[in-house]
Symmetry: C2
Subunit: 232 residues, 2 copies
Amino acid sequence: MDSPDWVQNIIVTVDVVLFTLHAQCLHVVLMRRPNDPFAGQLALPGGYVHQADDVDSLAAAVRVLRTKTGITPPYLEQLYSFADAARDPRGWSVSVSYFALVDEVVLRQAQVDVGGAAFDLLNVNALAPLPFDHNRIVDVALKRLRDKSAYSLLPCYLLAEPFTFAQVHQTYEHVMGVALDKSAFRRKLFDMNVLQECQGQRIGGAHRPAQLYRVKPEFSRRLQLLGHTSGF
Amino acid sequence: MDSPDWVQNIIVTVDVVLFTLHAQCLHVVLMRRPNDPFAGQLALPGGYVHQADDVDSLAAAVRVLRTKTGITPPYLEQLYSFADAARDPRGWSVSVSYFALVDEVVLRQAQVDVGGAAFDLLNVNALAPLPFDHNRIVDVALKRLRDKSAYSLLPCYLLAEPFTFAQVHQTYEHVMGVALDKSAFRRKLFDMNVLQECQGQRIGGAHRPAQLYRVKPEFSRRLQLLGHTSGF
DNA sequence: CTAATAGTGTCTATTAGACAGTATTTA
DNA sequence: TAAATACTGTCTAATAGACACTATTAG
């Protein structure tokens, strides 16, 4: 690196693509921007990195989500960095982007806690034009989520625990956008050895009750916040 | 994003993990730092983003590599962003990191053009302690390279064209660090349909000459500089 | 019993590893 | 011819999809 005989004046932000499952479809959480640029428009939750408060960019992402949405998601992973002169009208900027998963129950509770309609959900299959390069960020996040879902337990983080095998199966289908053979999927899922059976059975209609599962503690929840490119 | 009622003063750099194959082992290109911090030590080629010159972080990475090593690598991909308060003694910093591949012939030619021992090679299996968090960056890059090599033509970019099947085979083995069955590898490689035969045959010892190949133009070389998460 | 959903077994087509065999060159 | 390397064919074990089957509940 050269000596700084010229001055850098680059904006550094974090943005989070927070996915959830609503009405059997993947949705992205969007917030109405309180300030310029693009005040009043729906955009990804994001914000400046605070040098004094954030030890690193992950901490910044966690803080932004907690502050703006009230959610601390069970899964959060760095996605990509979008860094160029044109993406923000204020000038050269870096967005260190993350993607996150949360179940709808936690999401709705947070929405109540924060006091109503703080954020909106948008179906990923019918995404409105977003400010900055946020459409591109969502596209990259969606691709990453689908790619990783083929060999990981990621979609399980979209479900409230405990959940049934059928719920997991449907969730993978909704995320991947294709039908998955039940039997083959069952083998693959349980061969991953990441779920554990729960006590109690699902009550429902006039049908055979299903076994309940949760993610094993060692793979579960906020542990994922640490390693940034772990397998699951 | 909130209004900037406080001031950001974050250093934004790019760093590149440039791999090559030397003496049948993966090596990383390192440069002796001309300035503080860590002046005189070997480190990854990197530098400040120049807001005036670089349209985006990829352009910054290309410029840094060209300027410092004389190399424009055939493959260059964003790796990860390392962004925290502690990695650089000068303060809160973001390193948008890239990884790149180049063959040793191009590398040596660049070394001559630049005028001698501008850079060093370090075997990835015996990596010295590096300044900043560069060891961690190399680790992440190495993992990414190995993961992607299992289902892509990435290791081909470590070879000078044209090359033989045997060379490709050995290169994959050196990158992955395991023996690969020749016959199965052959099927897999050609099923990818990314190589094309060349005129002429390799001359060598008193043996049957091998067919020569190159990467098909549509998958080849600096096209890769564009799409940032393409399959190959 | 029936209806409905949960869960299992089994056949088959495809794939990857192992490895033996054939082909083509120079000396 | 022999020696060396390039390339191909075939057997087999593991895998994934398709789909038929059994199991367990409420009414």
